[in-house]
């Protein structure tokens, strides 16, 4: 005789859990299995020895969808194949499983004329699809079909299926399969087992309800003849947000336990929406309270590191590649180098250096990987090779084997997609490798003594006495039904009517969800609390669950559903809440006081940066300007403690300046004649392009076209004006981007001067190009707070060019003519200078300042150098901003260098004004 297994079919794993306990405690038994529909299918499959099919269904379906001409999905399929396939498959399953199994052709013979036009077209197209599929069907249906034709004699086991009507709701195919199994088994379901199953899905309790709790359990979503009055067995609490729900719930659980000695925490339940947020908040609040939980789902998402690496690798290979994509690749844990090295490489790129230089300890693999990331592709062939090489080099250690494996799989798909193609369709490749998070499976801890956690989408898994329902907000309890793009409610109703098919409509889905919610509430004995968040986590307001109105209708004297809700923020309401923990007093305490005072170190802060021989590294003019504005900012830079952050590339003023400099450097070269206007006209574009290639490859992308044009035209304008200055002055270019070095009070200083000019009278001019207007530089010069160009002059005076090659320059220097400074402001083509080479105005925009433009700045810098030498670190004062801005005419950008600077700013006036 064949063994017999009783299969108790339940809607979900929670119901299974509950039923198992009921049966296990009543009568331990063998030969009984409790499970959901997929488990039943699995059990039947193994009993009837149905072999597994290869899983090519997706391809088969896509192929068929493509091959049915002029179907309703055709256009959509072109733009969104995956989404369309899912939607059409669902409709197809819905339709087939409503027919008699084995008679799928039957549907093709039906006369659809009675259907309205749109659903008719849709049904007809689905029938065409069915024909095209040529016997293949969605997976589950295929198995059912095989089971239906399997001989009972071939089974190695018999299955008796116990099922309670609408628990779960079955499709026609499912129902027929159950009949067949039971017929094959030729045995009756066990009465005791059936009774146990039925107890999960109780008909409405017959005893007359007494309290509000029973009233809601019995009458929710129905219309009782009479209303009842509201007592304290049910309450609705309005709180701010989901976290507060969890926090209040944790406090209430503590309170309930305190009020009821002997009560087990497991007799208290929480009902949660199935979202990360709620799991997280409940976990957090109950951990704080030290109350154990049972059945809380845990976060189970993981980044798909393999796909992510490939996805960004594709961005790297499509030139120009975005810096952040490079940085992401470089810092991926799957790279051959260490995490620390990855971080450094990534930050280097984000700081604007795209050269991808290997560290000294780099291995051969490292080199190869860096090359792969640096290069780009024009043809599919090279890209295929690059992808293969890339995934070969991936190595995340044992921990990430699975990710590397995943990357290799996708890599193969990508290569397959590239095969035989003429060009590279980057967008579709990216879509193929677009990373989504991967689920590792949640494994909630179900235990005996923890607070019982139920989930909105699940049946209750053990009954409780007290229940707190969280997330009682719009769209929940019941969950909304899903819309279909193929059939809307009316269509389904029409199909049902016309074709006599049994189809679940959205309205029935809703009824089902409501029934589940009622079963959840029905598994509670003593008290119910609903938590209503008034705000979502971003602070936007939220409405309560649609069920609230139905609840309010059950109770007399409640003419507005909102009146049911007791607000946590309202004193009078708080007094009416059940189980709210008794309020103690809680005084606000300030977080730790941050001491902000000037600091004296025991060391010379200038001595912090030395080269290998122990010599001080020279300071640059910009570093000294930082020092002038903020010693703290200067120190942070000196000890490498400036903020590290990532930012997408954009054309900011700095970069504009760099590009302008680069173009000017090429245009106006030492020992070359000043270029003619025509030369300038024709050279700007190519020069700018080459500057962009070096400094900002991203600008070559199409979306930066306006920026490129605008840059070119403004550089052009500036170059023409500068040419006029040079020719009018009759100046000779002695050096461009010349490295100068010298000393300031013994401190080595150095820097690159933009251009050095010699005038016919032997005077020298040190010129600095600035990508701004005179208004931003003139004030500080007038006020004597300008240091930069003067520091270059100081270098010339105390040292000279670093290189000995520039003989022309050295000669001039030796001749000892005086040196003037010039700022050429490219935005308004003004030259600000302290050299009276020509009168102001004799060249358009030439402006001579006749005061000492740097005296006060140099004084300040010298003073600060003294301080830091002595180890003194004066913090900024609140008044500094105003002082620099107004009195010194210097925009104190250095104050924004770090968020620490405003925090460590001392109240009061700038020290300079005292």
């Amino acid at each position: 005789m064949k063994p017999l297994v009783h299969f108790l079919l339940v809607p979900d794993s929670s119901a299974a859990r509950r039923l198992r306990r009921i049966i296990a405690t009543q009568t331990p038994c063998m030969g009984v299995q409790i499970g959901t529909w997929p488990e039943l299918i699995e059990q039947a499959r193994s009993a009837y020895l149905i072999p597994k099919r290869s899983n090519d269904w997706n391809q088969v379906l896509h192929h068929a969808l493509e091959n049915v001409p002029d179907a309703f999905w055709s256009q959509s399929f072109e733009v969104a194949p995956q989404e369309t396939a899912v939607e059409v498959e669902a409709a197809l399953s819905l339709l087939i499983s409503a027919t008699q199994p084995g008679d799928e052709d039957g549907i093709a013979k039906v006369d659809f004329d009675q259907l309205p036009e749109r659903p008719r077209k849709h049904v007809e197209d689905l029938v065409r699809l069915l024909v095209e599929l040529d016997g293949r069907q969605p997976e589950e249906l295929e198995v059912i079909q095989q089971l239906m034709i399997a001989e009972s004699s071939s089974a190695i086991r018999k299955l008796v299926v116990c099922h309670v009507d609408e628990f779960p709701v079955l499709t026609r195919w499912q129902a027929v399969l159950i009949d067949k199994l039971n017929k094959d088994a030729d045995a009756e379901p066990d009465a005791a087992l059936l009774a146990a199953l039925e107890s999960l899905h109780p008909a409405v309790a017959s005893s007359a309800p007494e309290r509000s709790l029973e009233f809601i359990q019995k009458h929710l979503f129905s219309s009782p003849d009479e209303k009842t009055s509201l007592d304290n067995s049910v309450q609705w609490l309005g709180v701010r947000d989901y976290l507060q729900e969890a926090e209040v719930a944790a406090g209430m659980v503590q309170q309930i336990l305190a009020e009821n000695p002997g009560l087990s925490a497991s007799e208290i339940g929480l009902l949660l929406p199935d979202t990360f947020e709620y799991s997280l908040a409940v976990h957090d609040a109950f951990t704080t309270a030290g109350v154990p939980l049972s059945g809380l789902p845990v976060d189970h998402w993981q980044r798909d590191l393999g796909k992510e690496a490939l996805f960004h690798f594709l961005y790297c290979r499509q030139k120009p590649s975005p810096a952040m994509a490079l940085a992401v690749c470089l810092s991926s844990p799957l790279m051959p180098w260490t995490k620390e090295q990855g971080a450094v490489l990534a930050q280097t790129v984000m700081d604007g250096d795209y050269r991808l230089r290997a560290s000294r300890s780099a291995t051969q693999f490292d080199w190869q990987m860096l090359d792969l990331l640096r290069e780009g592709d024009e043809t599919p062939e090279t890209l295929v090779a690059a992808i293969r090489a890339f995934v070969e080099l991936l190595d995340g250690g044992e921990q990430f084997d699975a990710h590397v494996y995943q990357a290799r799989l996708i890599a193969e798909e990508l290569c397959a997609a590239l095969e035989g193609k003429q060009g590279i369709d980057w967008i579709s490749l990216r879509r193929l490798s677009s990373p989504k998070n991967i689920s590792t499976g949640e494994l909630p801890d179900f235990n005996l003594d923890g607070v019982t956690v139920w989930r909105e989408g699940h049946e209750p898994w053990r009954p409780v006495r007290y229940l707190i329902v969280l997330g009682f907000a719009s769209g929940h309890y019941p969950l909304a039904s899903k819309d279909s793009a193929v059939f809307v409610s009316e269509d389904l109703a029409a199909i049902q009517q016309a074709l006599g098919l049994m189809i679940v409509t959205p309205a029935e889905q809703m009824r089902d969800h409501r029934a589940k919610f009622k079963r959840q509430l029905g598994a509670v004995r003593d008290s119910l609390t609903f938590m209503i968040s008034r705000r979502d986590p971003t602070g936007a307001s939220q409405s309560p669950s649609e069920s609230l109105v139905f609840m309010s209708q059950l109770y007399s004297g409640v003419d507005d559903a909102e009146l049911l809700i007791l607000e946590m923020d309202v004193g009078a309401d708080r007094e009416r809440m059940q189980y709210l923990p008794a309020a103690g007093v809680c005084y606000a305490s300030l977080p730790r006081d941050i001491v902000v005072e000037d600091i004296e170190f025991d060391c010379n802060l200038l001595a912090l940066r030395k080269d290998e021989e122990g010599n001080l590294r020279p300071e640059s003019p910009s570093s000294l300007e930082t020092l002038m504005v903020s010693r703290f900012a200067w120190l942070l830079r000196r000890i490498n403690a400036e903020p590290l952050s990532w930012e997408p590339e954009r054309l900011d003023v700095m970069l504009q300046g760099t590009l302008t400099h680069q173009v000017f450097e090429e245009l106006f070269q030492a020992s070359n004649p000043i270029p003619e206007t025509e030369a300038i006209n024709s050279q700007i574009e190519p020069l700018l392009d080459s500057a962009i290639r070096t400094h900002a490859p991203f600008l070559r992308a199409a979306q930066w076209q306006v920026e490129r044009k605008h840059s070119a035209s403004s550089i052009h304008k500036a170059a023409l004006a500068w040419r006029e200055v040079l020719t009018t002055l009759n100046a000779e270019v002695l050096g461009t981007e010349e490295w100068l070095a010298g000393t300031l009070d013994g401190l080595p200083i150095h820097g690159q001067a933009d251009i050095l000019l010699g005038l016919p009278d032997g005077r020298l001019l040190v010129v600095d190009y600035k990508k701004s207007s005179a208004t931003s530089r003139r004030p500080r010069m007038q006020k004597g707070y300008d240091s930069q160009a003067n520091l270059y002059r100081t270098m010339l005076q105390t040292g000279g060019p670093k290189s000995e090659d520039n003989t022309a320059l050295l000669e001039k220097l030796r001749a000892g003519g005086t040196t003037g400074i010039v700022y050429f402001m490219t935005n308004d083509q003004t030259s600000l200078t302290d050299a009276l080479a020509v009168e102001s105005g004799s060249i358009p925009g030439w402006e001579v300042l006749e005061n000492d433009v740097s005296q006060l700045a140099m004084e300040l810098i010298r003073e600060r150098l003294q301080e830091v030498r002595a180890g003194q670190l004066y913090l900024n004062r609140e008044g500094d901003h105003q002082f620099f801005d107004k009195q010194a005419g210097v925009k104190p950008y250095a104050l924004d260098n770090s968020a620490l600077i405003p925090l460590f700013t001392i109240p009061g006036e700038a020290r300079e004004t005292e």
Partner: protein, 1058 residues
């Protein structure tokens, strides 16, 4: 009976429109005229939609229509965008779209538009010379000229879209050009005018080839002026420049001439005078006009191009944006009559709330349904149309009313304001709207509050306008709140009770003014609430972000330094810096907490990492005691939500904005940019209700809300339109179904010569004034019991347009009588004297560091430690393995039986896959050796003939051995077992083999492991076997013993039950 095709319900403030809709729909359902699931109701916000749904449902339930109330689930009650989106998804296939369209984020939109822009050359005239067209760096917004140009283009694109533009044509450009020409005024002969000026300039330069700066620049201003003049003159001597640079004209119009104390040579005076005169012809020069026309034409042409490319890009990527939800839905309806028919057959009626706030495209979408025969009810109030800044166009509703006076059915009651206050508003109304005002009959309950008060500012403050007025408002607030006799009616309980801070609103026109008021009121010890920005800069968010930066990269010295010296750290700045200088790293417990986390960040999602970081530092606990605990907590929660949003966002979408990767650094970069967007740096409301805090809100945001006492502030704000301006216009409202075709773009340029602006400004001023009247109405109608109005009477006699000038034009105030008269009516009115100067000391330090915190939520949790170990709810025996040490010392005699040789297999399987396969073989072949042939098909494992044979033999030997050894009366394979163990856990599992014999049962488990010592390995699995044994025993079986079949070795180990 049939529903009327159109019903218009003009509904003044507080006239109970939701109530009316709910009643009406309820009645129609009861009369069987409509089915609830076939209602389409469009509201302005999600909250309004939810409320409307709830109210209709309640109504139906109260009528005993349960089934109908349930069916309401299927009704379309949503915002207009929700409605559009639902149409697009339901009819995705009809429209050829993705059935799961994804909403485009702002970065993507921006990038796609940029891309689209790069593909058009229609704007080249502008982009090749942005400066000429007025695009220069803006210091306020810190935007470059390219961005500002792009904003303009975007604006055109938006206008074109909300005008429902779909095909390429020139009419927009043509119209826009004509519209400008009509207003620019008469022009002269441009070349002539330019030549004149050029001549005058040349003459001057001939006489004075050098700047006057050196000679006459006797002060800095003069010097600068001369230098500038000279530069301009030089530039102007080139007449091609002169023919396009209108700023230069303006400069020449303003040449410096003789001033007192600085007389210039007479001929210079004369020659420069000639230049000035020639340049003053600028307003009649056709050049600027042509430039403006060129500008707008290029913008429109480029905009149309961009739209085409943009739409294509979106369609290809399965994306839609907010505009599409309406535009594409409307488009679909226009082009697919079958869809319209399907839709119409599904809808019984269409209700549109806040109709005055629709834009032309929304109007067109809704109107198509109406035109197709869906009975339509529109509800709204023209007087409250203040959403123009969002593209709403009240002229549409106005036209609708004008053309359908017969079906307009205005509501005439007011349920909000107390009768005395309502009378006052009824008197003000006609002044604001003339015959457009319908008086409302007060239905509200009476009040003990004086309905109207003024705070009179008779003298203008010399400085600190806002602050001075805020002080007076604060004093009045203090007086009201300090007076225990002040009573108001509680909205929920309908009972009279003492006035509280939460009953009062202070309304200002701008956010800036609000924050000034907030500072002063807080300084005066008043509790206020105000939506403020600064979320990202708030202490806790800064700390959390720095912590994240550190978790991402422990080499980040700045983050380490920050954390160690601030609230969560333990070091002072000096120590931390010294450590960094000396060791290159910092030693602080706060960093240790994070180090523990940082070691396993790699594949954690950003959402999880943020949560991990919060919990590693106990941030929610930390902030729960801070003085601004609620705000800090709300801010943190938003950070968590942002992480969720970032995690869920589509990677390609983020990449298109330049944000690659899904790790911490990418998240922080994304966040940094996000908060720069408009309103994205607002701090979320810390609480839902604050009973004691005075609400501060803008006039705009007060719409739809109400308070017992309302202060209306900022009446002195000057109302001035700005140029340039772009807006939609219509050439006619006659046929509303054709509205889309009648839409035009009206561009008011900003010219260099202010005279040219006048006509454009004049038109805009009228608009501005109209909108201002409506704003005043909205602000005044927020009060239930008392209205306190700032009365800047110092403005009397000035002819600037202000809110006050509009209101005061109809009113006269008598201080001695304490009355305000409007038209013929006179109302009693308390009049307070406002300050005119800053009080000596406003002690802003006494900010009430409210020490006591509400003990709710987290603060009410008693901290505890969760127990370490929990008894599991259920166990499965197959997972049970003994630990190595527990195995030692077991002394039980084991029986070993070799039933076959070792099973050598080379089938390329391993681990659990192999295990499952072998189990299946033993089960299937054990039950029926006849399946040996097709075992490969059944299990789906490819097998060589040899392998198949050796497995079959192995199973056969085992079966033989079993038969010989046990004399079983029954054999159960894969037997489900269910019971409870001694600690109460449910045990459920499947035993591989249970043998019943006369004396009792045996249990045997198949194992596929490769083991060296089967007996020792047996002990590992003992718990599992014991578990099965106990279970069978609990069912009343006599368990004789159990064993393991080591399949690979062909050995069975048995242990006899003792």
């Amino acid at each position: 009976m049939m529903l009327p095709p159109l019903t218009i319900i003009p509904a003044g403030a507080g006239s109970g429109k939701t109530y009316t809709i709910q009643q009406q729909l309820g009645e129609w359902v009861v009369e069987g005229l409509i089915a609830p699931e076939r209602i389409v109701a469009v509201t302005f916000t999600e909250a309004a939609a939810a409320e409307l749904r709830e109210r209709i449902r309640a109504k139906l339930l109260s009528l005993g229509r349960l089934e109908d109330a349930l069916k309401l689930d299927q009704a379309y009650i949503s915002t207009i965008h929700g409605f559009g989106l639902r149409l697009l998804t339901e009819f995705a296939f009809d429209a050829g779209l993705s059935p799961k369209p994804r909403l485009l984020n702002e970065d993507e939109e921006n990038t796609l538009i940029r891309l689209a822009l790069s593909r058009t050359d229609k704007a080249d005239v502008i982009t090749s010379n942005l400066t000429k067209f007025g695009y220069t760096f803006d210091f306020n917004s810190k935007k470059g000229s390219e961005d500002i140009f792009r904003d303009d283009l975007l604006r055109i694109v938006m206008l074109l879209r909300s005008a429902g533009w779909s095909e390429e044509n020139d009419t927009y450009a043509e119209f826009a050009a004509n519209w400008i020409r009509d207003r620019y005024g008469i022009t002269g002969d441009g070349d002539q005018l330019t030549a004149n000026l050029c001549r005058a300039v040349t003459r001057l330069l001939e006489a004075y080839p050098e700047s006057l700066a050196r000679e006459f620049g006797n002060n800095a201003t003069a010097e600068r002026a001369f230098r500038q003049d000279f530069r301009n003159l030089k530039a102007a001597s080139d007449d091609s420049t002169l023919n396009s640079d209108w700023k230069l004209w303006k400069g020449l119009r303003e040449l410096r001439q003789s001033k007192r104390g600085c007389a210039l040579p007479e001929d210079y005076e004369e020659l420069s005078g000639a230049v000035i005169e020639a340049a003053s012809a600028l307003p009649t020069h056709p050049g600027p006009l042509e430039q403006a026309v060129l500008h707008i034409s290029a913008l429109i042409a480029a905009g149309q191009d961009v739209l085409v490319h943009y739409a294509e890009a979106k369609r290809e990527a399965g994306l839609v944006d907010y505009g599409d939800m309406i535009a594409m839905a409307a488009d679909m309806l226009r082009s697919r009559p079958d869809v319209v028919n399907t839709l119409v057959s599904r809808i019984d009626c269409l209700v549109v709330d806040e109709f005055q706030d629709t834009n032309p495209l929304q109007f067109a979408l809704l109107w198509q349904l109406k035109d197709a025969g869906v009975p339509t009810v529109t509800v709204g109030d023209l007087k409250q149309a203040i959403m123009g800044f969002q593209g709403a166009d009240p002229r549409l509703f106005d036209a609708l009313i004008q053309q359908n006076q017969d079906v307009a059915n205005p509501l005439t009651s007011n349920w909000r304001s107390q009768p005395d206050l309502m009378h006052f508003i009824n008197a003000v109304g006609p002044g604001l709207f003339r015959e457009g005002y319908v008086p409302l009959t007060p239905q509200g309950t009476g009040s003990t509050q004086e309905p109207v008060e003024l705070i009179d500012f008779a003298v203008k403050a010399r400085k600190g306008q806002h602050t001075v007025r805020a002080v007076s408002v604060g004093e009045r607030l203090q007086a009201l709140l300090g007076d225990s006799t002040q009573q108001v009616v509680d909205r929920r309980t309908k009972q009279s009770r003492g006035l509280r801070g939460g009953d009062i609103a202070v309304l200002c026109p701008t956010h800036k003014m609000l924050s000034d008021y907030a500072a002063v009121l807080r300084g005066m010890g008043l509790r206020v609430r105000l939506q403020e920005d600064g979320w990202h800069e708030s202490r806790i968010v800064q700390l959390a972000c720095q912590a994240l930066a550190y978790v991402a990269n422990q080499q980040d010295r700045h983050a380490a330094l920050y954390l160690s010296v601030t609230e969560l750290g333990n070091l002072d700045l000096r120590t931390a810096l010294e450590q960094l200088i000396a060791n290159g790293k910092i030693d602080d417990p706060v960093l240790d907490q994070l180090d523990a986390l940082a070691s396993h960040v790699e594949d954690r999602t950003i959402f999880a990492l943020v949560a991990d970081t919060f919990s590693a530092l106990h941030l929610f606990d930390v902030v729960s005691a801070w003085p601004d605990a609620d705000q800090a907590r709300a801010n943190l929660l938003r950070l968590q939500a942002e992480a969720g949003e970032f995690m869920d966002a589509n990677r390609e979408a983020l990449a298109s904005g330049g944000y690659h990767g899904s790790g911490i650094q990418s998240f922080l970069a994304w966040l940094n940019a996000k908060i720069e967007q408009k309103d994205k740096n607002n701090q979320p409301d810390p609480r839902v209700i604050d009973e004691d805090a005075i609400q501060l809100a803008t006039w705009h945001s007060s719409k739809g809300r109400e308070w017992p006492v309302v202060f209306v502030c900022g009446m002195d704000r000057e109302l001035k339109p700005r140029l340039p301006n772009m807006a939609l216009g219509y050439n006619s409202f006659d046929d509303l179904s054709e509205l889309i075709e009648k839409t035009q773009i009206e561009y008011s340029p900003k010219f260099t010569a202010s005279e040219s602006d006048d006509q454009f400004l004049g038109d805009l001023e009228n608009e501005t004034e109209l909108e201002s009247r409506r704003l005043i109405y909205v602000a005044l109608t927020r009060a239930r019991e008392k209205l306190v109005i700032e009365w800047p009477s110092f403005l009397a006699g000035k002819d600037t347009l202000t809110y006050w000038s509009i209101l005061a034009a109809e009113a006269s105030v008598s201080k001695p009588d304490k009355t305000i008269s409007i038209g013929d009516s006179t109302f009693p009115c308390l009049i307070w004297d406002g300050e005119s100067e800053l009080p000596e000391e406003i002690d802003e330090s006494q900010e009430n560091a409210e020490a006591e915190l509400l003990t709710v939520g987290r603060r009410a949790i008693k901290p505890g430690q969760p127990p370490e170990q929990q008894i599991p709810d259920s166990v499965t025996p197959s997972g049970m393995v003994a630990s190595t040490d527990s195995v030692e010392g077991i002394e039980q005699a084991l029986e070993t039986a070799q039933y076959s040789q070792e099973l050598g297999l080379d089938i390329g399987l391993s681990g659990t896959v192999l295990g499952t396969f072998l189990h299946q073989c033993f089960e299937i072949l054990g039950a029926n050796p006849g399946h040996a042939e097709n075992i490969a098909t059944i299990t789906g494992v490819e097998l060589s003939g040899d392998a198949r044979i050796s497995i079959a033999e192995s199973v056969a030997s085992f079966e033989q051995w079993m038969a010989d050894h046990f004399l079983a009366t029954a054999v159960h394979r894969e037997l489900p077992l269910l019971g409870v163990d001694e600690s109460g856990s449910v045990v459920s599992g499947t035993a591989d083999l249970v043998l019943e014999t006369d004396g009792g049962v045996w249990i045997i488990d198949h194992k596929s492991d490769q083991v060296d010592d089967p007996e020792e390995a047996f002990n590992h699995y003992r718990p599992q076997l014991d578990c099965y044994s106990n279970l069978l025993q609990s069912m009343g079986h006599n368990v004789l013993g159990h064993g393991i079949n080591w399949i690979r070795r062909g050995v069975v180990i048995l242990a006899v039950q003792c």
